[in-house]
């Protein structure tokens, strides 16, 4: 178990981005707090097994994502899809006015994006990670991450555009 100073330093550096990721996935403060705390508790118990200290961030996000999946007891297996096979499906980006939306609107839309795309899209927008790191966290090849991101971002934009068109969201349009 790490000493208190080392642990506090780690918490100081990563608790906010971990919480942001957790909240993006759960949209519930209590669940996001639980996931963040659980991640650090697992680090306290098992973090010493990590040999490469430069991988701490990836390890923490991977653990949080795994805990999230466990908590949801997801059973579905998602196929790996390479970017090349999705190019034809990539949509034209429709112009949107995002500035008038609340974060909750965006996260509600994210929750309606296919489950397999949600975590990569959240990590993409939180922008704390390279694509290689995201691939490592999610345990999928780089090409799969990029294809999931392309599709997930497109779905998110389509959902927001649809909501705005339906008048469900307040916008600055």
């Amino acid at each position: 178990m790490p000493d208190n100073a080392e642990f506090e330093s780690l918490v100081e550096r990563f608790y906010a981005p971990l919480y942001q990721f957790a909240f993006s996935l759960t949209r519930a403060e209590a669940d996001a707090c639980d996931l963040t705390q659980q991640t650090f508790a697992i680090w306290a118990a098992k973090g010493h097994q990590l040999r490469d200290a430069s991988k701490v961030k990836t390890w923490l996000f991977t653990t949080l994502h795994r805990e999230f999946l466990d908590s949801r007891r997801r059973q579905t297996r998602f196929p790996h899809v390479e970017l090349e096979t999705t190019e034809a499906e990539l949509p034209t980006v429709a112009p949107l006015s995002i500035s008038g939306l609340d974060t909750s609107h965006v996260l509600n839309a994210l929750a309606r994006v296919d489950g397999v795309f949600q975590a990569p899209v959240a990590l993409f927008y939180l922008q704390d990670h390279s694509y290689n790191e995201i691939a490592e966290m999610l345990g999928v090849p780089l090409g799969t991450v990029k294809s999931r991101l392309a599709r997930g971002i497109a779905q998110l934009q389509q959902l927001l555009a649809r909501d705005i068109a339906a008048g469900q969201l307040r916008t600055d349009l």
């Binding site: 642990f7 608790y15 508790a41 306290a44 990539l90 995002i98 965006v106 939180l126 922008q127 390279s130």
Partner: protein, 251 residues
């Protein structure tokens, strides 16, 4: 690379990151510099992405989360150290003396700090707990708690006495019996909820670092805004899913 391929690649481009060093992004960006239609598309796309990114970045951890994580870790370390001591010395001696049964009746490790108690009680309040007794009358509620050998002689602040009761429950925590008294403040309730204000009362001796009588601690614990104080040897822990001003109006 044509403009369509460049759009596919630039869909994932994040300015200000290491993305620009990726040869694919660099090639697509170079094309955007020489293709005015692609450049206009990229400008609109990046503005939109930046706005979306800002929404994600607005997510802020609740106050007190960091402190709670750190305090729970410190408590767990102390507990481990205590157990190690027990394991290395006392336990071996007891085993040697042929008293293993004693171990089975020892209380659980010393995880009885205020931070851990608050954290676990907050989880109970926010979780799908069941009330043992549903009542809005104080007399049967106190009688039930007394029958369960739980704290029943409650000294509530006058504003809290005015809040409608919804019921109570009894829980065990580190060998101590905890009274949970549930209230309804009159605010709109989330679906499936019958209460929105919770009071936990336990013998103050059950907590190693209970606040001294007369002092009152206000802090966010998990999603709850809470107040903690000691009165008559009992520790009171009051929580509401709201802001500091809301908890203060019941003290």
């Amino acid at each position: 690379m044509n403009a369509t391929e460049a759009k596919t690649i630039l869909l994932l481009y994040r300015p200000g990151t290491a993305d620009a060093e990726d040869p694919q992004f660099a090639e697509a960006l170079a094309l955007a510099n020489s293709d005015s239609e692609l450049a206009r598309w990229l400008e609109a796309h990046l503005a939109q992405q930046q706005a979306l990114r800002a929404k994600f970045k607005q997510i802020a951890p609740p106050a007190g989360l960091k402190e709670q994580i750190i305090s729970e870790h410190a408590a767990a370390r102390r507990a481990r150290a205590a157990w190690r001591l027990l394991g290395g010395g006392v336990t071996a001696l007891l085993l040697l003396l042929g008293m293993p049964a004693v171990l089975w009746h020892r209380p659980s490790p010393v995880e009885n700090t205020l931070a851990i108690y608050q954290s676990q009680m907050a989880r109970i309040a926010l979780g799908p707990y069941g009330m043992d007794l549903m009542t809005n009358a104080v007399v049967p509620l106190r009688a039930y708690l007394a029958r369960q050998h739980a704290p029943a002689d409650l000294n509530l602040p006058p504003p809290l006495q005015q809040v409608a009761l919804t019921g109570c429950a009894v829980r065990q925590w580190q060998g101590a019996t905890v009274s949970l008294v549930c209230f309804r403040t009159g605010r709109p309730l989330p679906p499936g909820k019958t209460s929105d204000l919770w009071l936990f009362v336990v013998d103050g001796a059950a907590i190693t670092n209970a606040p001294a009588t007369g002092s009152r601690q206000i802090a966010r614990v998990n999603r709850l805004m809470t107040a903690t104080w000691t009165d008559g040897g009992q520790l009171y822990f009051l929580g509401i899913d709201g802001q500091e001003a809301e908890i203060r109006q019941y003290l």
